[in-house]
Each structure stands twice: as C-alpha cells, then as structure tokens.
C-alpha cells in the first residue's frame, strides 16, 4: 500500500464546488428545516463564484443535493433561458456533470427564482426556491434579532395589522408577490417572491420545497403534504392574480400565470410565464406527440 493509494488525486475544486464541511452543514440545516416547517434556520452560507443576491442560497442547496445522475432544471421568472438561469445551469453542469433538462416532468431538481412551474410536481422531485429576503416580518420589523423572537412567540399581530390596514386603505390586500403564509399552523414564512398565483401550489404539495437565502444566511422548507395557508381574514378571501382568463398570444395556452408584454399601440399582449409550458403548448398545437403533465390550475382555477 502506498500513501498515494490512500488519497484522492489533487483536484482544483471539490465535486459540486462546495467542500465536504460546507455540504455537511447544509444537509444538517436542511434536515432541521424539514423538521420544523417554515422555520428559518441560520447557516454559514459560503461564498460561491456568483454574486450574492443572484441565487447563491439556492445554488448552495443545489450543489449539496446534486449528483451525476440528477437531472436539473433552472428557471428564472419562469424562464429556462433567462440569462441568470442559463448562468446557474452552466455552473451546475461545470462542477457536477449532472445533465440539464428544460422539462419539468423530467427534472429531479428544480432551482427556481420566483416561480413554481405550472405542471404538478411529484414526490420524487425537489424544488429549490431562491430567496432574497427570508423574513416575512421585515416590513414590520427590520431588526432580525427582534423578528426572530417574534417568530419564537408566534407574535404575528403586526403582520395581521399590516394586512388589515391595506384593506382599510385600498379595499384589498395590496401584497403582490411574497405573500406571507402560515406553514403547518405554526410559522409564518415568505414563500419567496413567487406570485400569489403560485402559493396554493405549496399547500399539501407532494414535493419537497427548500427555500434558501444565501445573502441573508437562512434556510427553510415546506416538506411534502404540509399545510401552507396564506394569511387571510375569514371574510376576505385570498386572491391570486387575475390571470385565469388570459390567453398566451404565442402558444394559445389559457388560464396560467402570464407575462404582460406592452404593445406599441398602448395595449398589452400576454405570454405564458412558465416558458417551457408555453413551448410544450406550441409543440402540442403543431401536432407533436409530447407529454404535458397535469397542471395545478385547471381552466384558470385552482381546484380546492
């Protein structure tokens, strides 16, 4: 036996970029996050070769979970070909050799910035959401240590008050994306800046969702089959964006979350925000036999 046979050959970086100690910490924090759904777990959050705020939290989770057989999909604002999604996908491939896919049904791991795909995710899939601000209480309490205590006490009164004030002032809840939601009846979390359209997809979902904020160094999770309930008053129901009746001008798909494209004549056209779903709709329309998964929304409505 030689010394060389006991060690691995030198490599400029570890598999999946992060070293073993960073991955171990992330695995531990992910397990904790799954055990206490919606509760923010602080983690060291290593620097990665990408700027903070550009998906470094999601990236660290993906780098920890990735293996050479894992099929990875990366989307940004619903689009696979967005420049930053392309950059993250290229980096993941470079450091892991894992195959990339654009197809939601084919993906084992989906790293996403601010959208959940329209096709229903399965138990064997993991969704990693990039999170800019993990603290739903930030708007009522910018101090992280006080906010942490408020979560400990389940002290969400100011959150409710803020929603109430919006209704009084504007006649409705004015929260756009990042709608604060109660997870498993205990912790209020931000679902990350996904549109309100996507929040019901997390409720009792079959898949595991891991939310990771790299800059703010917090990780939290929604395990499969967990309640995720947007904060609403009994007499003011939760409302998603009024996109149920819109039709995609490119694919003809109807009843999904749309991108609004301003037109020269002052009007707007709409295209389906889940870019790969749009591609599938076009290919199906053109007569190709491709598989499109069951969607969460049917005819623009989320079945209760």
């Amino acid at each position: 036996m030689t010394l060389a046979s006991l060690t691995k050959p030198w490599a400029p970086m570890s598999y999946g970029f992060l070293d073993a100690s960073a991955k171990r910490e992330l695995r531990r924090k992910m397990i904790k996050a799954v055990c206490v759904p919606g509760c923010q777990m602080p983690y060291a959050s290593r620097e990665v070769p990408m700027a903070r705020g550009w998906g470094t939290g999601g990236l660290q989770v993906s780098l920890t979970l990735i293996h050479p057989q894992m099929r990875v999909k990366v989307i940004d604002q619903g689009a696979d070909d967005s420049v930053n999604a392309a950059s993250i996908r290229r980096f993941l491939a470079r450091v892991s050799g894992a195959p990339a896919t654009l197809d939601t049904l084919e993906a084992d791991l989906i790293q996403s910035r601010h959208r959940i795909p329209e096709e229903i995710l399965r138990e064997d899939q993991v969704l990693v959401l990039q999170v800019p601000n993990p603290e739903p209480l930030r708007s009522v309490q910018p101090n992280m240590s006080i906010a942490r205590q408020m979560h400990g006490d389940a002290d969400y009164g100011r959150m409710w008050l803020q929603l109430y004030e919006q209704i009084v002032r504007s006649g409705r809840v004015m929260q756009g994306a990042s709608y604060p939601s109660m997870v498993n009846g205990r912790h209020v979390m931000t679902p990350s800046p996904i549109p309100r359209w996507d929040v019901p997809k997390l409720h009792m979902a079959q898949h595991l969702t891991i939310l990771s904020a790299g800059r703010e160094k917090r990780i939290f999770a929604v395990p499969p089959y967990t309640r995720v309930e947007p904060l609403v008053f009994d007499d003011v129901p939760y409302r998603v964006e009024e996109h149920g009746g819109l039709t995609c001008y490119r694919s003809g798909a109807k009843g999904f979350f749309m991108n609004e494209i301003p037109q020269g004549d002052g009007s707007s056209a709409y295209e389906v925000s889940d870019s790969e779903y749009g591609v599938k709709a076009i290919r199906t329309r053109d007569g190709e036999a491709i598989e499109t998964g069951e969607t969460w929304y049917k005819n623009g409505e989320m079945p209760q």
């Binding site: 903070r52 392309a86 910035r113 009084v168 002032r169 756009g176 160094k217």
Partner: protein, 349 residues
C-alpha cells in the same frame, strides 16, 4: 423581453463576458507582479475585505477584474471558502507585533514613543504631473533614524488600565478550533465578540467609513479619541504535528484603539484587519466604541452596522436589481389595478 425571453441567453452571456475581458487583454504573470508591487495598499484593502492573506492571489484578482473591487473581493472569498482549514495560528498579543507605525492622539508622548512610520498624512497632495511628461518621479531616500524605535511595544490601553482609567475586557483564552469563525457559522445577535471583530475585519472599507463617520459626526453617543493606531507585522505561529511551534511567515496588520469618556471611566473600541488600512480601523473601532447600548435600528447598533458593512453581500444585492423582476412586478401591478378599479367606500361621517 429582449434579454430574457429570447432563446440565446447562453450565447449572449458568454459574449458579454468576452467583451469585458477583451478590454483588458491577456493577463500575464508580469502584470500580476506589477500590480502587487505598485499597489500595496490596494492589495491590503482587498486582502482585508476578503479575509485572505495572499498578495499574489489578491493581485491576480485585481488583474482579472480590472480593478472592480467588489468583484475582486468576491473572487478571493469564493476561492478562500473552498480551502481547508489546516490549522489555527497562535493568538498575537499587541506587544508581539513588529511595529512600523504607532501613534497616539490621546497623549503627547507615550511609552515607546510616537512612531510615525510610513504615511502620507503630512504630505502635500500634489500630483507629480512631470511623470506624464516623461520625467520619472524618484522619491528621495529615507535617512535612517539615529535611535531606531523599539519594534515591540505594549498598547496604550495597557498603560491606561494600569492607571485605572479603562476597564480592559477579560482576556479571551479560547484556543484553536474552539474560536468562533464567522466564515463557518452564521452571524447571530447579540453576536459573539469574535464574530463582531472578524466581521469588522472583513467589512468593506467605504461602508465602515460611512457608518463610522455618521457616528463621529453625532449620530453616535461617543466621540472617539485615537488612543493608538498601529501598522505592524504579525508573526503567524503555528504548531507542526510533531509539536514544534514555528513561524509560517509574517502578515501585515493594522489595528486601532479608540476611547471616549463614559462616566468616570474610558470606553474602549477596537478593530483590526489584515493589511494596512488606517481609515477602516479607526472607523470600525469607532463603531465598536458606540455599539454598547446603542438604540435598536440605529447606525451604531451592532446588527445594523455588521449587516450593512458586509461588502460582498451589499454589492451583490445592489447589482441583483439588474436581474429581471417582471413576475414580482406583474403581481404588484395586478393588486394595484384591482384596487384602483374599486375605489374604497368613504366611511359615513
């Protein structure tokens, strides 16, 4: 739509990176060596903010990024974080620092003497424009001192403590792996003393200056007196597995002690960093001095200034606003339009 929804993102980002790099041309070892030799204070600043002491890597990072400081620091940090921690050097006491410059504003003279060392403080800030006309600027040689200043000196606060003017914190005897490491664990508040000092050591110089300056102007309670400012070299003493302690070399460090009267005693603020960076140390020590009892949410509260002087995080978040945000924006538009369509009923008088 053009920079997102087109299928060509991969090619576009590759070409944009090429465009950036092309402007700087090929990078050779000679360029890196020149940067290292010509810009020691820039190298120091980058090494301090990256918390990685390696002048060659810092020069390489500057060469690769064309001097974009935030990018250079991020490059080094991302490299640093993947390196194994092979060992922990012995703690360096102030009296063990090989001192180049040590000044005190608190006393006219101090034990060990005021040692000006290298500084531009009293220089006239005049551009040597002759250089551009082809006449090299050849600085006059330094005349060696008749009585060289002692290389090792105690801190001024040690004298003050002996005279019962200041309460020094109890020496922290934590050793080796047990020392909290802010790069390996999250920063939580109230923060561990080690985390605070490490965060200040890594903080971005400009941000520390901005918040420290705010505290100096009056948004803090304590007005700093520079008790001692020191530029020095520290011996990195490590222990070989066989048990022998040896020096792995010296690193340049700077440190500042600032004090202010707090009741009948002196409050003490401290900061130190890799490399020689006086502005950062004085500003950071001022923040440290003001942190005790600072109101929540004020610029001198520890949580506030430690979060907001983290240059890699701050700059990354700032530039992330260039990323498309149209989903979030659409979601807000939807709520706005709906609220406008249905005006709120005026409450009956």
């Amino acid at each position: 739509m053009a920079y997102v929804a087109t299928r060509g993102g991969e090619r576009a980002i590759e070409q944009s990176e090429r465009l950036f790099r092309e402007a700087m041309g090929p990078i050779e070892a000679a360029r890196v060596a020149e940067i290292r030799a010509a810009m020691p204070y820039l190298i120091d600043r980058v090494m301090g903010e990256a918390s990685l002491y390696d002048e060659d890597l810092a020069a390489l990072a500057l060469a690769q990024t064309g001097g974009e400081l935030y990018e250079a620091v991020l490059l080094l940090r991302a490299w640093r974080t993947t390196q194994p921690r092979l060992g922990v050097a012995a703690a360096v006491e102030q009296g063990d620092l090989f001192t180049h410059r040590r000044i005190s504003a608190a006393f006219k003279d101090i034990p060990g003497g005021q040692v000006l060392g290298p500084t531009l403080d009293y220089s006239h800030r005049v551009l040597e424009t002759d250089v551009l006309a082809g006449k090299p600027f050849d600085p006059p040689k330094v005349d060696p001192a008749d009585n060289p200043a002692p290389a090792f000196q105690p801190s001024v606060s040690a004298w003050q403590a002996a005279n019962d003017l200041v309460d020094l914190p109890k020496p922290d005897t934590t050793k080796g792996e047990a020392i909290p490491d802010v790069t390996r664990e999250p920063l939580l508040f109230p923060s561990k003393r080690a985390h605070t000092l490490q965060s200040l050591a890594r903080a971005e110089t400009g941000s520390v200056l901005a918040l420290g300056y705010a505290a100096m102007r009056g948004y803090g309670q304590a007005h700093p007196t520079v008790n001692e400012l020191r530029l020095a070299e520290a011996e990195v003493m490590v222990t070989h597995p066989s048990g022998t302690a040896f020096s792995a070399g010296r690193v340049k460090v700077s440190q500042a002690e600032v004090v202010s009267k707090q009741g009948e005693t002196l409050g003490l603020g401290f900061a130190a960093t890799f490399g020689w960076n006086e502005v950062k140390c004085i500003a950071a020590a001022t923040l440290d001095l003001n942190a005790k009892g600072a109101p929540k949410g004020s610029a001198t509260e520890e949580e506030f200034f430690l979060y907001h002087t983290e240059g890699v995080e701050a700059s990354g978040f700032c530039i992330h606003f260039k990323l498309p945000h149209y989903v979030t924006f659409q979601s807000s538009l939807d709520a706005m339009r709906d609220a406008r369509a249905k005006p709120v009923k005026e409450p009956a008088e």
